[in-house]
């Protein structure tokens, strides 16, 4: 009996070792360990064994079964590993073949610039407000301290619909709409399209975009204006950006200033990009003129504020080194794809 078991066992192991496929291994399992297998047959023939020998034979049968199972499992594991390795080896691809892109569209550079500006000011507690593009003279000029005869009205070369209604030349009118609502304090920015009667060329467009900013509160100072816009410039152009404020004139602010930022290409050393100046002109700003506050029923003795206006195209052209403004309105996909 013992010899028979040894024989079965060694035959099984031989067959296992000769197996080259998983189904062959399975056949071996069935042949030796299955219900009709050889070991089962041995167990079935126990009735022919002397009762006192039965535990011993039983133990031998179990040992043989365990041994066969162990070898079988080991063989299966090895075989599965080999098969996987072979499969992986066969599946090598050329990773330098072209990518299959999802062809996501691209945002207009103006919008990218706008979203940057919005992100910065919303983070500082400003609300984004909109105003009408077709505007009344009062909001575009008069309420901004630009009376009927003021040369600014000519300089800006306004598109008129009629004597009283025009295409806004600046987003500053949104300030007035907002102040008229009578809710203080105000911290707002107003992005939008503006229009001026300029012929189209590389640096002019009859339609472009501005972002207006306005803060009205008690005790707002010129220093606050400087601090806020310096922070804005650092956020927009990088931590090392320096700013310079130059006196200027706008009818609706007093004092007024223009803000330059250190050239972000050369860091202020002077380069072709900043025409050797080291500085780039970015925006106009100032303390809200007391006359403007008064016209909006805000007491200039109690409240002060600052306002600023940024040209979005200017920022987009600078940031992305776009050398012709016409590209922004042609919508050539080869241009848009670069943003």
């Amino acid at each position: 009996m013992k010899e028979k078991l040894e024989k079965i066992k060694s035959e099984a192991i031989r067959q296992i070792n000769e197996s080259e496929a998983l189904d062959k291994l399975n056949d071996v399992r069935v042949t030796f360990l299955g219900k009709k297998g050889e070991l089962t047959a041995v167990l079935k023939s126990m009735k022919d064994v002397l009762p006192e020998d039965r535990p011993k034979i039983g133990q031998l049968v179990n040992e043989a079964r365990e041994e066969i199972e162990r070898v079988l499992d080991e063989a299966r594991t090895n075989m599965e590993r080999r098969i996987r390795e072979a499969k992986l080896k066969a599946e090598v691809i050329d990773v330098t073949l072209p990518a299959q892109k999802n062809s996501v569209g691209h945002r207009h550079p103006n919008t990218i610039a706008l979203e940057e500006v919005e992100r910065i000011f919303v983070g500082m507690g400003y609300e984004v407000i909109e105003g009408p593009e077709i505007e009344k003279d009062y909001y575009n000029f008069e309420a901004l301290n630009i009376p009927a005869d003021h040369p600014a009205k000519d300089e800006q070369d306004t598109f008129y619909i009629n004597g009283d209604i025009l295409l806004r030349t600046q987003t500053s009118g949104v300030q007035v709409h907002e102040m008229e609502k009578g809710k203080l304090p105000i911290r707002m920015i107003a992005p939008g399209r503006v229009f001026r009667a300029d012929e189209v060329d590389a640096t002019h467009s009859p339609s472009f975009h501005q972002v207006e900013g306005l803060v009205i509160d008690k005790k707002i100072t010129f220093a606050d204006l400087k601090g806020t816009l310096a922070e804005f410039a650092r956020e927009l152009f990088g931590e090392d950006t320096k700013v310079k404020f130059r006196p200027h004139h706008f009818p609706f602010t007093e004092p007024s200033a223009e803000m330059d930022v250190s050239c972000f290409k050369c860091g202020g050393e002077g380069c072709r990009f900043c025409k050797g100046e080291g500085w780039l002109e970015i925006l106009g700003c100032g303390m809200v003129h007391p006359k403007v506050l008064t016209m909006c029923n805000i007491d200039p003795e109690e409240y002060t504020g600052f306002a600023f206006g940024v040209g979005l195209e200017r920022i987009a052209l600078l940031k992305y080194e776009i050398d012709d403004m016409r590209l922004l309105y042609e919508n050539d996909i080869r241009f848009l794809k670069q943003f």
């Binding site: 609300e127 209604i165 304090p185 339609s207 005790k219 309105y329 919508n331």
Partner: protein
Amino acid sequence: MNTPLSWIKAYVPDLICEDREYCDAMTLSGTKVEGFRRLDKNLEKIVVGHIEKIERHPAADKLIICQVNIGSETIQIVTGASNLKEGDYVPTVLDGGRVAGGHDGGPLPENGVKIKAGKLRGIESNGMMCSIEELGASRDLYPEAPENGVYVFQKAVTPGEDAIEALGLRDTVVEYEVTSNRVDCYSIIGIAREAAATFKKSFVPPAVTIKGNNEDAKDYICVEVQDTDLCPRYCARVCKNIKIAPSPEWMQRRLSACGIRPINNLVDITNYVMLECGQPMHAYDLSTVAGNKIIVRRAKDGDTFQTLDGQMRKLDSEILMICDAEKEIGIAGIMGGENSKITQDVQTVLFEAATFHGANIRKSAKRVGLRTDASGIFEKGLDPRNAEYAINRACQLIEELECGEVVGGIVDVKQPLLDLRQIRFEPERINQFLGTDISKQDMLEIFDRLELVYDTNTDMITVPSFRQDIECFADIAEEVARFFGYDKIPTTLPTGEATAGKISFKLRIEQKARDIAEYCGFSQGMCYSFESPKVFDKLLIPDDSPLRQAITISNPLGEDFSIMRTISLNGILTSLSVNYNRRNKNVRLYELGNIYIPKSLPIEDYPDERMQFTLGMYGEGDFFTMKGVIEEFFESVGIKKITYDPNAQKSFLHPGRQALIKYKDAVVGYLGEVHPDVTDNYDIDTRVYVAVLDMPEILPYTTFDRKYEGIAKYPAVSRDISMVVPKNILVGDIEKVIEQRGGKILEEYQLFDIYEGSQIKQGYKSVAYSITFRAKDRTLEESDVSSAMKKILNGLEGMGIELRA
């Protein structure tokens, strides 16, 4: 405004600074410098040479050999110039020197032209004698220079001395951008005052004194201002025994540097005073002034007048004229008349220094079509107090230049001058406003330099008349800030009540539209708001369509930009056309921009500005691709169950491939394939698909709120149905039936096959759906599903649909 730095320094004598330093400091104190130009740029080793001997060149007819004394030695120079003679003094550039440009007067090379000794046709030449163009100047500014040839000094010079200095070219011309509020800075005196305050030096303007004779101007001329609203002040003086001659060199050089051509002493004096004082002057030949009388009055509509440039000008009743007893002799503030022009023979001159209504001059100049240096200054609105100073300055120069004899007295017709403005001095408020801590003393020092007079008794600041821009507290604060230095003001952030930053819901929806469009492969374009009225024809829009009721711009750039768009399609189609004609493949663009719908025409109030989300594409994809983008968008803004109505009747879309997009009963947009006639009009030779969503119509239904509905725990049951459907029935109609009749357990339905063709009888199509049922709270019984299916099938059969096995 261009001025030579030397002229500024003449009135700020202690000012010593480099060009760059000057320009930076002036910019930072508010007189913005646009740029500066050194007149002696690239002029090196150029001295006065004295031509001692001229000989012919043995080998070239057109060349001469000159022996030129340059002080230290005599050198030989060969030249082709034909205007030279022995004894001439000429600017001579030595070996190794440099000149600014070529003798042709073309654009100046950045680094000039290097001059080296060499041989010309075998004869040694050790330098070059220069034309005025080679020195970077022009005959306009040096009228004595010959048209072709070497510049010859007309004044006494010494061989070897610096020729550039002798020519007055050791100077820097500074270009300023003067802001419109600073009328006073359109003058040398104004800028010099700012420079003095900027550099904290004393300001020494020219002191005006006139001898005058013992006659009285009133005996020569009588002035009557009829339209005092347009002429607050008119000063007149008379000079006789005029001797016309060139003005002295110093005056010529100053005018030249400002870009004004010297002409003769009289004309030069008026120009000089205009530059120096910012007060335009006019000179009339008194013998041409009929009745020795000046009348200032408006012209009559339809009058014509010949200005001294010889042109006939059309006048109207808002144009102010200077007249004599009989006729008009000048357009006030713009240009004098041909009929009173100064000639070489003038004996007696009438000087005019007046102030006119700025806006009137500006508008008149525009209508007359003549904007002169004078009108450009008058239009800013001049200080009436300056007129008297300027006319006296002109008379002083007449005497100094020995140009004539000044008649005593002045004829001065003026409206009462306004009192000088007074503003309270509030140093604490200024500091509070600026966020600074500037001492009262420092502020007063700034005021002093600007001639703002502080009275300790009244605590008031008196504003000089030339500072018309200073009106209130904030203006005073600005003066303090400018000269304290904007850069020294601290930087802080606003204190006070915190506010919440936010973006309006409308803008958030627009952001979402951009996101979805881009995910779907569309890039953002930007189009103009104004376009041509021809667009309506291009889009085949019927003549009676309300879309043609557009707002018109009264002064457009041209007809192509003359109406405010009422439909957004033209922009996107034009952009697609640009791409198509540049052979860009598979282009997908979108735009978010307004259309402008008038409430009435002509408009009296704000029009309705409606944000349009417009998509357009050609290349890969079709109608259903576009439809997919639309549905992605609606899903993302919480709108479900959009429907499509094929009866859109859009003339610009393919009649069988267009649909209105509806939500509930509202039309929220449309989509379709563009009509081939329209794509032809845009030069696009392929199918184009567009969609336009009217955002204001959509906005009320949008939401970012979502509610979790649980993930189904119980199994679903699916049934497929296959139908033969009359062709005219839309799958949308079938879906409506499924939806209405499927009951609560209907989960979803999906079209999986649609077929028209030979296997299906004429006029029919085959349609197959897979319908899925599921209950939230239990496993469905067979009977639940079959009763729901039965209802659906009954409904479909009612529509004439045949069910297939």
